[in-house]
Assembly symmetry: C2
Homo-oligomer: 407 residues x 2
Amino acid sequence: MAVGPSTFPADMPAIAGFQIGVAEAGIKKPGRRDLVIMALEAGSRLAGTFTRNAFCAAPVHVAREHLTAGAEGPRYLVINTGNANAGTGEQGMTDARATCQALAEIAGCDAKAVLPFSTGVIGEPLPMDRLTAALPTAFANLGEGDWSAAAHGIMTTDTRPKGSWRTLALSNGESVTLAGASKGSGMICPNMATMLGFVATDADLAIDQPALDAMLRRVVVKSFNSITVDSDTSTNDACMLAVTGQAGRVEGEDLIAFEAALAEVMLELAQAIIRDGEGATKFVTIEVSEARSQEEARAVGFTVAHSPLVKTALYASDANWGRILAAVGRAPLEELDVTGVAITLNGVTIVEQGGRADSYTEAAGSAAMAEEELVIGIRLGRGQQEARIWTSDLSHDYVSINADYRS
Amino acid sequence: MAVGPSTFPADMPAIAGFQIGVAEAGIKKPGRRDLVIMALEAGSRLAGTFTRNAFCAAPVHVAREHLTAGAEGPRYLVINTGNANAGTGEQGMTDARATCQALAEIAGCDAKAVLPFSTGVIGEPLPMDRLTAALPTAFANLGEGDWSAAAHGIMTTDTRPKGSWRTLALSNGESVTLAGASKGSGMICPNMATMLGFVATDADLAIDQPALDAMLRRVVVKSFNSITVDSDTSTNDACMLAVTGQAGRVEGEDLIAFEAALAEVMLELAQAIIRDGEGATKFVTIEVSEARSQEEARAVGFTVAHSPLVKTALYASDANWGRILAAVGRAPLEELDVTGVAITLNGVTIVEQGGRADSYTEAAGSAAMAEEELVIGIRLGRGQQEARIWTSDLSHDYVSINADYRS
């Protein structure tokens, strides 16, 4: 199940200096693309954010280490689906390093120039024989622009590929392009990181690595770190931004426009994960305003987004707004004066001054809840800050997907 | 659905100085007991804990106020099910006070000697005409010992009544009795409070009110505040302990034995809520040990207990222990060294030194998961503190109950 039509663009562009190669390694089951290589031209830069889960997977450890360790800079990302290589102890670390080494030998580069990524079931050993056997095929397939193959090749319980892109005209008349793919459907509550998200740009950014890292962090907070399907932060989340520098120079005011374009691409990729959330039948935006701080606004948004009772009411299209109110009331806020709280549902005011709005009718609430796309507005009445969180509902299919299938 | 046979005792005892009266008020639907009065002999004492939900219901506000305000002390508790009188603004406060006033006029006492409690749907006005019309019947029915009627009369989505009792032989040869009833099935994650729980004792406790309050708080933390069905803290949680003082004097060492007996009664009432959790097919104890603090141990326990992925794996009896590991990894702990973590399932070691145990077999894990009652042991390897949290699984029935029915 998924909300609305697929959002994968038909016209995903190639990024100069960035190539994609895909193969069928049969890691979990045969006959599907499950191994992806992304190649960065020499001289490219790479920024990344990773999961904060303490049990972060072996490839996350190795990718984080290689991100800064390679003398020749980053050259290859290698991504497998079907197995997360998490909870696998020392063997997992050995396997992640061996994957880098195997690709490095094929490509003729240093193993530290390769960053590994894995997604899939936790706690089972990575089938190294099948993975390494398929590396030459994926490497031989490297070519520009096949984002659809990459997006398919990283899917787990996803029902459809996720991609987004933008071009940006620069002040000097040149232009740059950004494109990316993401995956994710369950175990989605990124914490200072993301599910797997890969974005590449040909821009020649006039900023140093710390500034590039900071830009990625700013954008990730408002995109991948603002979504939740089920409150479960994965062991394997990672978001990577590859900058090949093969196109126009981006400096001055253009940097602001570039960050805005990057934010749009990342947000579309993040929202695509929610639209494809496990069992999702609703796409829900929670807009929290008049908070004392960003953190407070986000805490209220996530409390509502994680409430099983709110999520089942959304699934039922039941205007049971008392559950939203109860979730706001249990959010970790100091001294919330409920008489200042107002709640709307697709513009219909349901709560004002802490109680049911005089103007509210069950008919209006039910009509709003029947929509496939919902905006829950929560005004806290105690400050100037705001945040937006995106989530899906809790359906029978979510239970079936996670009870019937070992993901 | 519920786990195991009903645990309601066949032989619930009367408590001297404590009476119960029940009526059918037709608050939500006709033909069921939905109004309960509990009467305390003059001179009784009462201690209580209430929800920390900022949107706490009107009756919670009034009960908290009356708990200390009445010149003649507490005399009556009046409890309705079918309507929570929460999110009802000023009208809700007026209705809660009017309920106390109506009972006070029948009983010939001060309105402040009456404490109101409500449970049921949030956001709909309390049907005062039906409620007050049934008060004389409930009052006329007052008598000692019908705990079964009281336990039935406070149920919402509960599938069975919940009760527990103990007698305690004192050093001086006398004895005292404790008995109580609770309700709760969904919207269960009490926070410094509980779902509705009412316990009465005829003990003559040789402690002052602050010490009585403190005893109740200590016991509640390890019982009602250590359970969760769905992470949603209700707007109406309350736990009351009535002390009539009609039986033996409890002092000195006997006070320690009394607190232990009270803890057993409260824990049985809390566990009965989990066994009857909405859609529950499993009764799960999460034992967290070797933590740096109680708070840390509880945080890990609740993170695992709230994980939808852990809960659906429990429902499926799928030994997908990677989900438990991932939940431990995202718990809010400072600098968790995962190599110190061990996880067991009904005694079967699944994780040691942060990865899959060498001795682990899928067959042993599956056999453990197939049990209806499960103990998940989590050893953090970084301290001496421990905590136990109880929870249920996430089943299709949970979704059906909350999506098909406005609770």
